[in-house]
């Protein structure tokens, strides 16, 4: 009886401690992890050395969940959903799985489509290869294109540099990195941040088109 009591006391003590430290506890791939409120699943995973691939994510700018390579499966109360880990806040008690069939299916298709749409990007080819995607079944319309339209350059120019020299123009399949009014931007201070953050090496081609010399 006393053993039971101590067990219970221990548990309640543990629960109290958990409540007090304000940490959120859940599992990633079966591994127990802790996170602070407001963290995303991706941040927590990286903190714990769990790899989730990303393309449009950069720690210096706000994530927008564009590329969807970072999708994970979140299971809770018997329900499961696929969510982009870079924008999904942590939640206590959930089970996150980073490599389920559903997740890999999204990732592989995204990479295969990227191979057709930004075939000139060496970085994307490498990333795809890491995930076993080496060829694409889709039409390559612009062999010289390297830009995945993730908007990381635009966000960095806005949030980090504070200049807003470039923007995303058009929409849907016609989306492109451009400068306001499709003119080469006079606002650009040629700091090179966009060149640095671009995950696909596309800015090298695009920079002369959007920045006034």
């Amino acid at each position: 009886m006393s053993a039971k009591k101590t067990q219970k006391a221990k548990e309640s003590k543990k629960a109290k401690k958990e409540k007090d430290d304000g940490l959120i506890r859940f599992k990633i791939n079966g591994q127990a992890v802790e996170a602070r409120a407001g963290w995303t699943i991706l941040e927590t995973a990286r903190q714990n050395g769990i790899n989730i691939p990303t393309l449009c994510f950069h720690p210096a700018v706000e994530p927008i969940g564009s590329c969807r390579l970072c999708v994970v499966e979140v299971r809770q109360n018997g329900y499961s959903r696929v969510a982009a880990s870079c924008i999904t806040p942590v939640q206590g008690g959930v089970e996150v799985l980073t490599d389920t069939e559903e997740v890999l299916n999204v990732r592989r298709w995204v990479l295969e489509m990227l191979l057709a749409n930004c075939p000139a990007s060496h970085q994307i080819r490498e990333l795809a290869k890491e995930h076993g995607v080496t060829s694409t079944r889709f039409k390559v319309e612009h062999p010289e294109d390297a830009c995945p339209r993730c908007g990381l350059c635009v966000r960095a120019c806005d949030e980090v540099v504070g200049v807003r020299a470039i923007s995303l123009g058009n929409r849907g399949v016609f989306k492109e990195v451009t400068a306001p009014y499709n003119q080469r931007s006079m606002e650009c201070i040629r700091c090179g941040t966009c060149l640095y953050v671009c995950p696909a090496g596309a800015m090298e081609q695009l920079f002369p088109l959007v920045s006034a010399p």
Partner: protein, 620 residues
Amino acid sequence: MERISNVAKLEALRESLHAAHDPERPVVRVCLGPGCLALGANKVSRAFQAAIKAKGMGASVQPLIKETGCHGFCSQGTLVNVDPFNLFYVKVKPDDVEEIVETTLANGQAVERLLYSDNGNRYRSASEVPFYKMQQKVVLKNVGVIDPLKIEDALMAGAYRSLAKVLTGMTPDKVIATVEASGLRGRGGGGFPTGRKWRIAAENIRKNPGAVYVVGNGDEGDPGAFMDRTLMEGDPHAVLEGMIIGGYALGAHQGYIYVRMEYPLAIKNLGVAIEQARALGLLGENILGTGFNFDIRINRGAGAFVCGEETALIASLEGQVGEPIPRPPYPAEKGLWDRPTIINNVETWANVPLIMEKGADWYAGLGVPTSTGTKIFSLVGKLKNTGMIEVPMGISLGRIVEEIGGGVPGQDWFKAVQTGGPSGGCVPYELKDTPVDYDSLSQVGSIMGSGGMIVMDKRDCVVDVARYFLHFLEEESCGKCLPCRLGLKSMQEYLDKFAKGQGSPQDIDDLHSLARAIMKGSLCALGGTAPNPILTTVKYFKDEYLAHVVEKKCPAGVCRDLITYSIDPEACNGCGLCVRNCPQDCISGEKKKAHSIDVSACIRCGQCMDVCPVDAVLVA
């Protein structure tokens, strides 16, 4: 009219309006809904004015011509209802007006030839017509009855009675509890319980006091859908009243209605309704003298389909690019200008006054337990009767198509029904007993959506249909997330291949896998539901996909690369109509003898088939 300073005066005004109305006075209601307008309904209305003037009917009681919203039975437009004779005229042309004035208005007789007839039966009044008989008009009860540009008309029909009741006798909490108890679910497509949404917002406001906003979503962009449009055009006060009640429940002082620019009449009618409600003190400062302030502004959408998605709509309202942002946080927590915001479809808002007036129990008694109330659908496609309908939730799909829609002309079955617009699914004939409610539709892989219903027959090819919807969504994708921006285009590549008879059965499975990836991986509901037409058609019509890629045939005779036209020499009577209509001049034959088509020059446009009076043109 004077500003109304308290509830008693509102009722007094209503009574004086009723007292001034002579029930014997003839009323001609001309449908000015979008369908009838396109057929020249305003000419009919003007003809009535002129004919009555010419007849000099001032001596007897002058008939009243009302230009109303949509009557619903669009395939029979222009529609005219004449009271108190309770006569329902269909396909009225300006030339028919004089006869109606002479026979009906002057002598009280029916113009037999303009009455609706079907299967040898002639129907005098609308309520007898099968198309209307099966319906249950609750939300639409005033649409087609009142003149939307006259608030007096709406007041006589009971508008703002619920508002008065709420403002004087119900606490905000009671309003939310009533909506919760009614079981009302969002009519924009998601089907989220409206009361719960309000409750969440109310709690967020308590935690984080400050401004709150109320938004009406009238950005209806689905091809073949016109429910919200009809409602905003035909009974704008119902939408306004619902929003004011919502504003009261949440302590909001500002509301916005987001209407797409392509609905100029809806914008005009809503604008007039807002002006008139403001003038009467039903909107604006100190509503009905209760001290409650609430105003509504109209925001015109620039035509992007994705702005119907709530977070994209809010971005657009703020003046930003109309792109969705990830949820959570939901707008009920952080919406317009980062403040708690309640955003509901305009049809949802129009349900609110009814719930307040008749009570949650009455509302919950309509429809089925998990999907209460009624739902408006636009019933279009290969049907005898097309138009806008309102039915209780839970009615079977087959009954809607066969009993209200009158079935497919000349065929005793339909192939499938696309519910929920371009991002809905194709429900095949075998599942015609599926009840139309949120959960049953999602079980068969489709969605309720905002209420579009497109009926297909054996001449519709599922590959072609899926291609059509996908093409629409591809053009409307905002391009923010990759699965949607590239995925819709990539799925289209597969379908284009199938339509040309290329590809293999493996490609069909690959397409299915890609569709699932897009469904799971997309940022917002546009991408998340875009694969529905493909997932459902592959599920229910896999044979037809296989026919395209294996046999290189399009069983429905639609995909141009897979079909050939020919003329049945037995059936052809040699009339030459096809010869005259062929744009390629590739049909030849002597008069009164069987014709033939030169297949090498034929572009498979199908015009010969459409014009042939004896159905001698075959497609295979």
